[in-house]
């Protein structure tokens, strides 16, 4: 077995195990840690497919930003030692049914579909290409989404401030 394949399966195993742990762990900080592991493993994937920029964003924004945010909020709102009660059986069963059946269906759908490999040559993914496209205004240029998402971030910021601001 090739190294990269082995690595893929290791990463897969990490993702599978830790995502299960994330949703089952009864201690919230641990859950956050498991989530971080999943996200980092995902970043590993991105490295494997040569999308370093993506992987970097994943690590910085996701693992670094969001998870930290989550951990902060956990610290703000929960006791570290607090252990959750076990989920209700009924809810657990329903969750499992939805999860398992959804997973089964998507797997079947994926396996059934005959994906066609492309004949087009791969584009070179470097920072320059990414930068050009991000500011491109034609097809496959992402200037417009880029601008709009800035409005979104501004609005989210204002919104978060309005909501979280203390006092009258």
């Amino acid at each position: 077995m090739a190294l990269n394949v082995l690595m893929f399966y290791i990463l897969s195993a990490v993702i599978v195990i830790f995502s299960v742990l994330t949703i089952t762990s009864r201690r919230i900080l641990r859950a956050a840690f498991y989530l971080l592991c999943v996200l980092v493993a995902t970043a590993g994937f991105y490295f494997m497919v040569d999308y370093q920029f993506m992987a970097g964003v994943q690590l910085v924004l996701y693992a670094g930003g969001i998870v930290v945010l989550i951990i902060f909020s956990i610290l703000l709102t929960s006791h570290i030692s607090h252990k959750f009660a076990k989920p209700e059986a009924m809810r657990l069963v329903m969750g499992l049914i939805v999860g398992v059946s959804g997973f089964a269906l998507s797997t079947i759908a994926i396996l059934q579909f005959a994906f066609k490999e492309t004949e087009n040559a791969a584009i070179k993914v470097d920072m320059q290409a990414i930068g050009t496209q991000l500011l491109g205004t034609g097809k496959n240029g992402y200037a417009l989404p880029f601008e709009v998402i800035s409005v979104l971030l501004l609005a989210a910021m204002i919104g978060a401030i309005v909501v979280a601001k203390k006092g009258k």
Partner: protein
């Protein structure tokens, strides 16, 4: 790319401009003069609304990411009108002491969500659509929790953000399959690569589910009532009219543009959703006592009717849907306006509080009566035309049974709309809501609504205009 092609994005740019002006104004306004921002925002927005009525050439920008045509421009105008009315209706509310510090934030958030909706409507690829969708959702969650000292408001905010995140996750998962099987996020590239294989259907269904969340179609509607009840009334009005209208329009346009090859899949899917939505919406609406919650379920049921038009899939369908939404904006905002006026004046929001309202506030009651009749689809008010044409659209496709179910549901809906009428005109009350004077802004907004309710039905020119700019699958 020429500079005047930005003219195609006129409305979005104006809105961003307004948002910026307000942001600046917020910084340079003294705290005791914050109320001036209300007037500023209303005037600016009114101008923007008027400006958008000027004709615009058709065209695309950013390599197909942004599409504009008379229909999208018209839809944006409809949304602008809705938002303008909402602004007028929220004047009193904003002047309250507790909201004093959040006036400009309110406007900025609303306008930014409106920008999101505008991009959503004009989107030419899934990325723009998704970003627009999120932009139209995330700030609303903050708005829903705007009265953050009310527990209900906070609850509304959290429920909205978490469920909407889930829904956008599901939507995205569907979109990822669409991208994976077609190789593009651009609508024009996708359209001829769609077939009815399981994976693409999977993607389609998840996409529909995500959109159904926004339009609050049953069974993806559960957040609606809670959020509508908890959010400030004006936000609820905004959610139920503008946000829903934009999402429905986008949903329709994408189904037409992208999934035109698989109508045999999404039509039965919408059929099911329509039946479920109308029925469940009605059943829940029957037993509500809180006016906002009641209107929430009523608007769920109304969304079911919109699907009838979408399913038609042709010019007729689009015309009827847009026409209905136009009517719906005026009708529902009239209802919310009255609820808002009463709530601001007395704090009462229950149907039973409205007993004998006609005795003390006859004008408000009459407006409410008209709104209820229009929602129920009773002639001669516009709602009748809107509903009948939606039925016509479904009939054109041969869905007579669906039409029957829909009309029967309309009959059931009449029951609860009449409950409100009954409360106001028939039921006696020991402590009726006292007579109060409605502020001028509210009056103006209600006047606009009433004019709309009466005129749009009879003025066939409006329908003809919509018909002339609409397009179908083919």
């Amino acid at each position: 790319m020429e500079s005047n092609s930005f003219f195609l994005m006129r409305n979005e740019l104006i809105l961003v401009g307004i948002a910026m002006i307000l942001l600046v104004a917020e910084i340079f306004t003294k705290p005791e003069k914050k109320n001036g921002i209300i007037t500023l925002a209303a005037v600016l927005f009114g101008l923007a609304t008027v400006a958008n009525f000027f004709p615009v050439p058709e065209g695309t920008l950013f390599g197909g990411s942004f599409i504009t045509n008379p229909m999208t421009v018209f839809m944006k105008s409809v949304l602008n009108i809705g938002v303008f009315i909402v602004f007028l209706q929220s004047v009193t509310w904003l002047r309250k002491e507790e909201n004093h510090g959040k006036i400009s934030e309110y406007f900025i958030l609303v306008i930014s969500t409106l920008i999101g909706m505008n991009f959503m409507i004009s989107s030419g690829d899934f990325l723009m659509m998704y970003i627009g969708l999120e932009l139209a959702t995330i700030p609303i969650a903050a708005l829903a929790a705007f009265e953050k000292f009310h527990e209900k408001s906070a609850e509304a905010g959290i429920k909205l953000i978490l469920t909407s995140a889930l829904s956008s996750g599901i939507l995205l998962y569907g979109l990822s399959f669409i991208y994976g099987t077609t190789g593009s996020i651009y609508f024009v590239d996708i359209v001829d690569k769609i077939s009815s294989n399981p994976l693409q259907t999977f993607g389609l269904v998840f996409f529909v589910a995500g959109m159904a969340f926004k339009i609050s179609l049953v069974p993806f509607h559960l957040w609606t009532a809670d959020v509508y009840e908890g959010a400030p009334i004006n936000i609820t009005a905004y959610l139920s009219v503008v946000s829903k209208g934009a999402a429905a329009f986008t949903f329709m346009i994408i189904l037409f543009r992208v999934f035109s090859a698989v109508t045999e899949i999404w039509q039965p899917l919408l059929y099911t959703l329509a039946v479920a939505t109308m029925t469940v919406g009605n059943l829940f609406a029957i037993r509500q006592n809180n006016m906002k919650r009641f209107l929430a379920f009523s608007s769920i049921a109304q969304a079911g009717f919109i699907l009838l038009g979408i399913m038609q899939g042709g010019e007729l369908g689009m015309t009827t849907v847009v026409y209905f939404m136009l009517i719906y904006v005026f009708t529902n905002l009239a209802a919310f306006g009255v609820v808002s006026a009463i709530s601001e004046a007395t704090g009462k929001e229950n149907i039973t509080d409205y007993n004998s309202l006609y005795k003390t506030n006859p004008k408000l009651s009459l407006i409410m009566l008209l709104a209820m009749f229009s929602l129920a689809g009773i002639p001669p008010v516009a709602g009748f035309f809107g509903k009948f044409f939606l039925f016509t659209a479904a009939g054109a496709k041969g869905y007579y049974i669906l039409v029957l179910i829909a009309v029967l549901n309309a009959t059931v809906s009449l029951y609860y709309y009449l409950r409100v009428v009954k409360a106001m005109l028939i039921d006696k009350s020991d402590e009726p809501i006292g007579t109060f004077k409605t502020p001028w802004a509210m009056r103006a907004s209600l006047l606009i609504c009433v004019a709309g309710i009466f005129v749009i039905g009879f003025a066939s020119a409006i329908y003809e205009y919509i018909s002339s700019i609409s397009f179908g699958i083919n």
